[in-house]
Amino acid sequence: MNCSRLLIISCLFYLVACEPVNEPEADNYPPEAFLKISPAMGDTTTWFVLDGSRSRDYQGITELLKYRWDLNDDSAWDTDWVDYPYLIQAFTQPKTHIIRLEVKDRFGLTDTTSSRLWTYGINHDTSGFRDPRDGQYYKTVRINGLWWMAENLNYGVMIDDTATTRDNETPEKYCYMNNPDSMGSMGGYYTYYDWNELMNYDTLSVQGLCPPGWEIPTTDDWDSLFYPFTNKGLVTYFSEEGYSMLNLTCIGVHTLTKFWEPIDQSPYSRIWMYFSRSYKKEFYLGDYTICPFLASSSSTKAFLMRWVSDSVRLHGGALPVRCVKRQ
């Protein structure tokens, strides 16, 4: 075996095959890095697609670009140079993540770009309190600096659901099928209020029937909670078992004396609806009507928890209630 001959052949191969490719051309410019992240926001179980495939090398061959990634913005590259422009990645820490992508052309010129994504995880900012009026305990959760009851209000005396609430100094509530023990695992899950009763018959009331120090949320409170979510996304995040820990309860239709009927088991249709203390013109069942049913995950706002009858839907409407506490 003539080793020196093999050495010469090897070196020649390396020089001939590789050297011309790596010689920068005089008019070569750096490639242009482009990063798209899909989706832009998710929770800690979401698989994000980091897509660098739109990066370009206008003087060279885009297919020869190489890619490397910094997934935590610590200025250290988390991957080697790779040929594939995509990376599928989950982020287990709930926070804003800055992703950096660097692309390199075959002559070694590079370009870097970065983008952000947001991940939401389980909200651990939780607590609880006891209502001094009746000793009932409520879980609470803080979101965007505002404390929310993580269970529905369950205060007052149950009246029959065929009865109309009255301004009589007695806080009155309805219970599903007139059974005050039908509370489920979600506090006052099956408890709901007439809006005038909730407001203590004072449309300017702040506390209403909420515990001392707590308020009925305003429309702005609900809106700030929901931003920047869209309908079905916020249902997932805020409903039972959602990462927000707010545990809003999806509702169905419960016409008096009839059993609960979930509106639709389809995830396309799940909604929940709560009272705010704001009056506002709302589009309701084909007509603009004054009503406070604003905190809904449904764009139609066409469902109430309790209907007096199928023909008189609006005025007999009663809904579950959450209270908020400002710091």
């Binding site: 080793c3 020196s4 093999l6 050495l7 052949i9 090897s10 070196c11 191969f13 390396y14 095959a17 590789c18 490719v21 899909s38 989706p39 832009a40 926001m41 998710g42 929770d43 979401t46 698989w47 697609v49 897509d51 297919e63 020869l64 190489k66 040929d83 995509y86 599928i88 075959r106 920047p228 979510f229 869209t230 309908n231 079905k232 996304g233 916020l234 249902v235 997932t236 995040y237 389809s266 995830p267 396309y268």
Partner: protein, 310 residues
């Protein structure tokens, strides 16, 4: 010296484009339509090696992954609001060919999908890979003309031409004018149809053009005593951009000089949405049917006159 030789090869390797996967790659085929009651996804894998390809194609272990979890994630702009896991099934038969007919492994769900964003997510432990594809599932296209609420007659040779107009996602616009007719011989009555395919969603059916088409494609046979038009169906289909690309590169085995189209990350294949609709049972008017008997290209086809179609 050997080290040097290896170095020489590996330093070049980075600049080589290999059109052939050097490792097992998932291959996915999934066309979704909101009107389907069951949705299917096919997952196979590329195979390579020294064995005969035809033999490998008959070996399920070469074609399918041992284990795979296939999900549809329903999206609402940012969030997954529902996840469906598809279940494996071998209930369907595959057409005979290079690949084995049984088992024909598919993944299915009967979840009623609606228009919206869907992510297909496939987790394959065997190769520690997640395959992801995104699409916007379109709804069914709707007709503007003919008006589905009006009488089901196509009025040729009238002041208003017979116009077909429909709307939807129009990356793909395919309209089929299906003429249904009977061919009657001494011994049989055959149900036949003739499809006129138009790649448009807005056009006028010029009666002479239609007669020319009929005359060109229906061949008379001496044993046919007469033909009788029963009705006309209008079938429309559309698709998103991925569906258009799917149609363009329908079969990767054909000779194309470009890279095969794929819209999947960490895999090859197609995830596309399409929609369809139809108007059934339209009748051409008397003038058109009677024209078949006198128009030069169709008068030999033995169509019966309008009165005899009643």
């Amino acid at each position: 010296m050997i080290v040097l030789a290896v170095y020489g090869f590996t330093s070049c390797e980075e600049d080589v484009i290999s059109p052939v996967a050097d490792h097992t790659t998932p291959v996915v085929h999934c066309l979704l339509n909101v009107r389907d009651s069951v949705h299917y996804l096919r997952l196979t894998k590329t195979f390579s090696g020294s064995a005969d390809a035809r033999q490998m194609a008959q070996n399920p272990d070469s074609v399918y992954f041992i284990e795979a979890h296939v999900y549809f994630d329903l999206w609402d702009k940012h969030f997954v609001f529902h996840t469906i896991e598809l279940e494996p099934t071998t209930a369907l038969q595959r057409d005979p060919g290079i690949f084995m007919t049984q088992p024909f492994l598919l993944y299915k769900t009967d979840f009623p999908l609606r228009p919206g964003s869907i992510r297909v997510r496939i987790e394959i432990p065997e190769i520690e890979t997640i395959v992801i594809g995104d699409l916007y599932l379109i709804g069914s296209p709707g007709f503007t003309a003919p008006d589905p609420k009006q009488k089901k007659v196509l009025s040729f040779y009238e002041d208003e031409p017979v116009r077909i107009i429909w709307g939807g996602i129009l990356n793909v616009s395919l309209t089929i004018i299906r003429l249904n007719y009977l061919e009657v011989t001494d011994s049989s009555v055959d149900t036949c149809h003739l499809d006129w395919v138009r790649k448009s969603s807005n056009f006028v059916i010029v009666p002479e053009d239609y007669l020319d088409f009929i005359g060109s494609w229906i061949k008379d046979r001496p044993e046919v005593n007469y033909r009788k038009i029963t009705d006309i169906d209008i079938l429309i289909s559309t698709g998103n951009e991925q569906y258009r690309n799917y149609q363009k590169y329908h079969d990767w085995s054909i000779d194309i000089l470009e890279k095969p189209y794929s819209n999947l990350v960490n895999g090859y294949g197609i995830l596309a949405g399409w929609g369809n609709n139809e108007l059934m049972g339209y009748l051409p008017n008397q003038k058109f049917i009677d024209s078949l008997l006198v128009y030069p290209k169709t008068k030999y086809l033995k169509f019966v006159r309008w009165l005899e179609t009643k």
